[in-house]
């Protein structure tokens, strides 16, 4: 407690010292937007550099920059990798607005870049544990079935892993998938996957920028422990109409963008649909009979309107669904919907603001029917509404203060389940749950001198689990790992809006950069994060039917503290970019489950939840080559994630399901000629842990597996895979607008059967009574063969 107040006191002092300095000298402000000349698309993270003062700034998520300087004449350079830099002489006497349009660098092959920002940004910026992947890079990587995929691409970055192909989501520094806040234009996406985990829900044609924070998480983000994946959508071409699309083996895609009013308003609409059901129709009809539905689709929409220099509106939406239907016998579908309305307002040249209202929803429906008198319908949902405001105050070139707040209202519908049983209705529905999550934050990015810069702030988060609803009390467990039974006469009911349980936390965030020389810097960061909503899942991979739950009187919020240290060094005029980072994290109240937990359609599932503490530490190395015909990166992570809970593993520490000791990947790109380019991925990972049976015994003639009681007592074998792809760009004919490319790719080139899990069970063929039962270890591989594919992409 004392430490906390000291930290907060220090932060307050830092803030105050800046404001007092700020008032001393008269300054004028240069501000504006930076855009791509051809499309009018704003540029995120483009740099502005003032010669002589050796200072500068970068554009924010909306392409806005602002820098306050003493009145004088300046030479200012505007730059963005892949574009021609522009240098302007500016006689700055009064507040000046200057919008910059950047022209694409014409005399180079389209360069593959990981960070499309200032070349040495990784060294000079205070941010650490952050990866940016440009959509151009993602599009060049070899992809499963030729489908360019945001989430599968970030899994090649250091510190990011997955439990295997087909698993939903991704794991960051050993955290579980629900600890990642995935934002699509600021609205959270609760299930990032199509077809379980094979494809992500983001349509690459509509994505502009992807940024992953693994640590040093700024105070403006909150609500999840491990990472923030910030996906920003394109705004749509402001100058001309553009159509692009692609035809692959799984999806076909089409997007249209263009101006509504030139340089004032534009739109983009992008859709994808799978057609595996159409291709596989003969097979399905043979196996299942007709009337089968198997598809997934998504639709992304965005429009923006520039009201005037001070106001701009953005409206974006996403709708995606996976559908599986087998006549009347069974149906299963799930999907996300998000809608975001944002308003950028400039209060002054130095105070930029953004107000956001969003709605986000994830739901699924399952139905079965033996006949019309015997049916089962089950749906579940998480819905939320939020209001948010962010202010950026460009105090002076050395201080950028951001502050704001957010409130989210959640509605959880864990199960709306009804069964028709010989014509009689049976209602299995579980009660809805409601919660309010709020946060306030303030933060400053400060340059102390040429060598030292800081980013520090604090977030205060508040959570109210509220009615209408009931709170349950549970009996003490006899043994710590046992299910706790509800004490039914202690159930309390609450009216709408009445608090059942509240929590609040201060989450300090701090980063420092110390520049050793022009090409080398040291960085350190600390952050605390709190998470109030949880995905309840105890299966090997999370499933689309897993439910989200709020923190309750029985489930405490999950907490994490992380420190990270890193060294960043670039060589050979920023051709080679390298980094080495170490992190150490501690966790409190992670969700674990009693043995044999029953988590679906169980009103009292809180009695099956155990809360564990955890620790994670690791070392991440990355070497990247950014220039030339041969580019790419190699990353290596050495990591450990462990959990401890009284009721599990005899109370001792055990490795988490996501623990990977070694994780190595290489991604390489080579431009063979003007038309041909090649790329390859190679991945080697240590096997993830699993609990393996050690013994067996019989009851009632059944064979039961038995273990020593140790959780995650073994590891599945090592995972390795090579993918390659080749892209043939169409001939550019002068005067022709259409450009196209063929992408040939091979996933799992040398046909490795990487096990997703090792399972234990009896022979799949019945053992006759009276004979000893046969039990085996089974290797389950999701991708059991080499997968070649071809796709055609076009643009006009």
């Amino acid at each position: 407690m004392q430490l906390k107040s000291k930290v907060l006191g220090l932060l307050a002092l830092l803030f105050l010292s800046n404001f007092s300095v700020a008032q001393k000298t008269e300054k004028v402000t240069l501000s504006g937007y930076m855009k791509e000349a051809s499309s009018g698309e704003t540029l995120i993270g483009a740099s502005v550099y003032v010669f002589g003062l050796e200072t500068g700034t970068t554009t924010n998520e909306y392409g806005f920059y602002s820098i306050s300087l003493p009145p004088a004449s300046y030479k200012i350079e505007f730059s963005y990798l892949g574009f021609d830099s522009q240098t302007k002489e500016i006689d700055l006497k009064e507040n000046t607005k200057l919008d910059i349009e950047m022209g694409e660098n014409a005399n180079e092959l389209v360069e593959v870049v990981v960070t499309s920002e200032a070349e040495d940004r990784n060294v000079t910026n205070t941010e650490m544990s952050v990866n940016k992947v440009s959509i151009a890079t993602i599009e060049k990587m070899p992809a499963l079935l030729g489908e360019v995929d945001v989430i599968r691409s970030i899994q090649l970055l250091p510190g990011v892993s997955t439990v295997g192909e087909g698993a939903t989501g991704f794991n960051v520094r050993g955290g579980s998938i629900d600890q990642n806040l995935i934002l699509l234009d600021e609205a959270p996406v609760y299930n990032s996957s199509h077809l379980f985990g094979f494809f992500s829900v983001f349509n690459p044609d509509a994505v502009k920028d992807v940024k992953l924070y693994k640590g040093g998480i700024p105070a403006r983000y909150g609500g999840r422990l491990s990472s923030i994946l910030d996906v920003r959508m394109k705004e749509g071409n402001m100058k001309k109409y553009e159509v692009s699309g692609g035809v692959g083996l799984i999806f076909s895609r089409l997007s249209v963008e263009g101006p509504i009013a030139k340089d004032k308003a534009s739109f983009i609409i992008a859709g994808r649909r799978s057609y595996i059901d159409i291709l596989a129709k003969p097979i399905i009809e043979k196996q299942v009979g007709g009337d089968t539905e198997l598809n997934f689709y998504d639709l992304t929409l965005k429009t923006n309107y520039k009201i005037n220099d001070k106001n701009r509106l953005f409206l974006s939406g996403y709708l995606g669904r996976d559908n599986f239907g087998f006549g009347n016998a069974a149906g299963f579908n799930w999907g996300n919907q998000t809608a975001t309305l944002r308003w950028n307002h400039l209060f002054s040249e130095r105070l930029f603001s953004n107000f956001t209202a969003f709605y986000s929803n994830y739901d699924y429906e399952i139905s079965f029917g033996a006949d019309s008198d015997n049916t089962f319908d089950w749906s579940a949902k998480i819905k939320n509404y939020s209001l948010k405001s962010d202010f950026s105050y460009f105090l002076n070139p050395d201080n950028l203060i951001t502050f704001g707040g957010q409130a989210v209202i959640y509605e959880f519908q864990p199960a709306n389940a009804k069964s028709l049983n010989e014509g009689m209705i049976v209602d299995f529905s579980l009660a809805k749950k409601y919660a309010l999550e709020a946060g306030l934050f303030i933060e400053n990015e400060q340059k102390i001198n040429r060598n030292i810069s800081l980013q520090y702030g604090v977030r205060w988060s508040f959570f109210n689990y509220m009615g209408s609803g009931s709170s349950y009390e549970f009996a003490e467990a006899e043994n710590p790992g046992d299910r706790r039974a509800p004490i039914l006469d202690q159930t309390q009911t609450f009216d709408a809006g009445e608090s059942i349980q509240t929590y609040n936390n201060f989450e300090p965030r701090f980063s420092i950069k110390y520049q050793l020389d022009n090409t080398t810097s040291l960085k350190a960061s600390y952050n605390r994060t709190a998470q109030y909503i949880h995905l309840v899942s105890n299966t090997t991979a999370a499933t689309p039917v897993d439910i989200w739950t709020p923190s309750t009187n029985n489930i405490k919020p999950q907490m994490a503290n992380q420190v990270a240290l890193g060294i960043f060094k670039n060589f050979d005029d920023n051709t080679w970019v390298t980094s080495m980072e170490g992190y150490y994290k501690t966790y409190k109240d992670l969700l674990e489950y009693v043995d044999g937990a029953d988590l679906l359609l169980n009103e009292y599932f809180e009695g099956d939840v155990l809360q564990a503490k955890g620790r994670a530490y690791g070392l991440e190395l990355q070497i990247e080559k950014k220039k030339g015909r041969f580019t790419g990166w190699t990353s290596y992570t050495l990591g450990r994630t462990e959990l401890q809970s009284e009721g599990i593993n005899l109370g001792d520490w055990y490795p988490s399901r996501f623990d990977q000791t070694h994780s190595f990947s290489t991604t390489a790109f080579y431009d063979l000629s003007k038309r041909w380019s090649l790329s390859a991925n190679f991945v080697v990972n240590s096997g993830t842990p699993g609990t393996f049976a050690t013994g067996r015994y019989e009851q009632n003639g059944y064979v039961y597996p038995h273990t020593t009681g140790r959780r995650n007592n073994a590891r599945i074998p090592i995972y390795h895979r090579l993918d390659v792809s080749a892209t043939l760009a169409g001939k550019k004919k002068p005067g022709k607008k259409l450009s196209g490319e063929w992408v040939f790719s091979i996933y799992n080139v040398y046909n490795k059967r990487n096990p997703f899990s090792i399972n234990f069970g009896e022979n799949r063929i019945r053992t006759p009574e009276g004979q000893p039962r046969q039990t085996n270890a089974y290797r389950f591989a999701v991708v059991g063969s080499i997968i070649p594919s071809v796709a055609y992409n076009f643009n006009f």
Partner: protein, 309 residues
């Protein structure tokens, strides 16, 4: 539901696969196994004592001989014993048998509590169970059904029975086709009131459809499987015998977990981790040589039989 998941995965990823592999597994610690599931059916009752073996050791489990086993009908209220039944292993095969002393003598009576005492090498292992009520079977029906996801067309049977009024009755529905017990993990058919689990508002209702249909055999799968291999689907002339065994809540959760564990490998992506299935057999003395696994349960049984014509 799992069936559908699995089906989706296989159809959408024709590339996924499962094969048997050789693994070096951690050495098993040999433990005493008590297999004591008694019921009110006429004739002898058997309790088996065995030892655990390595998971991949596909032989019979070794028997444990030389124990003294008794089951007592007890008054929990005043801790008095009404009657003691002795189980004897005359042929030294680890199967301890109680034989009725008079023809028609039934050990298990509804509503009574029973204690188990296993005396082995000077250590005592004990357990408690209760004979709860069971419910009558109204009828067994069958019909011809067209093919559907994951199951071919053919004759499918249903059991019609209504849960007893009052929350928390639990049942194990055992099916015998032409006298052979349907013994696969996936065929284990459990009911909590009229549905699958607590808190589902299913008290006093007719068993829901998946439970009613849970008396059909599950086809073999995997390498070398022939659909009508060992136990083919129902056909004209087959007899179907169904028994409803009453359980204690503890026994229900034991079997529920056992089923999850036995069928663990069938769920591919969505498998739950292997864990130990809870036991209700406890050592009387703290420094006992054994820490036993297994279960003691006493059941009332109702049954019905029908031949498909």
């Amino acid at each position: 539901m799992k069936k559908y998941f699995l089906f989706l995965i296989t159809i959408l990823l024709l590339t996924s696969c499962e094969d048997i592999i050789d693994l070096e597994l951690e050495q098993n610690e040999s433990q005493l196994v008590v297999d004591a599931w008694l019921n009110d059916q006429p004739g002898p009752q058997v309790i088996k004592l065995r030892r655990t073996i390595d998971y991949l050791d596909n032989s019979f489990t070794p028997e444990v001989t030389g124990a003294t086993i008794t089951v007592a009908d007890i008054n929990l209220a005043d801790s008095t014993i009404n009657q003691i039944y002795v189980f004897e292993d005359d042929d030294n095969d680890g199967d301890y048998v109680w034989t009725p002393t008079t023809p028609g003598e039934i050990m298990i009576q509804e509503g009574k509590d029973y204690g188990l005492l296993v005396d082995l090498d000077g250590d005592q292992y004990v357990s408690l169970s209760k004979a709860n009520r069971t419910i009558p079977i109204d009828s067994i029906g069958y019909e011809f059904l067209e093919d559907e996801v994951g199951q071919p067309d053919g004759i499918y049977a249903q059991i019609y029975a209504k849960d007893a009024v009052g929350e928390g009755d639990v049942y194990w529905i055992k099916t015998f086709k032409n006298g052979s017990f349907l013994n696969k993990g996936q065929e284990m058919n459990l009911a909590y009131d009229g549905a699958f689990g607590p808190g589902t508002n299913s008290d006093g209702i007719l068993f829901i459809s998946p439970i009613r249909f849970g008396i059909n055999r599950v086809a073999d799968s995997g390498d070398g499987a022939i659909d009508d291999g060992d136990i083919p689907p129902y056909a004209i002339g087959d007899s179907i015998r169904v028994e409803i065994h009453s359980l204690t809540q503890e026994a229900f959760f034991h079997l529920f977990q056992a089923r999850t564990q036995i069928t663990q490998g069938d769920n591919g992506l969505f498998a739950t981790p292997i864990n130990n299935i809870p036991t209700n057999i406890f050592s009387q003395n703290e420094d006992a040589k054994e820490s036993p696994v297994g279960f003691f349960c006493v059941s009332k049984v109702s049954s019905a039989e029908r031949t498909i014509e």
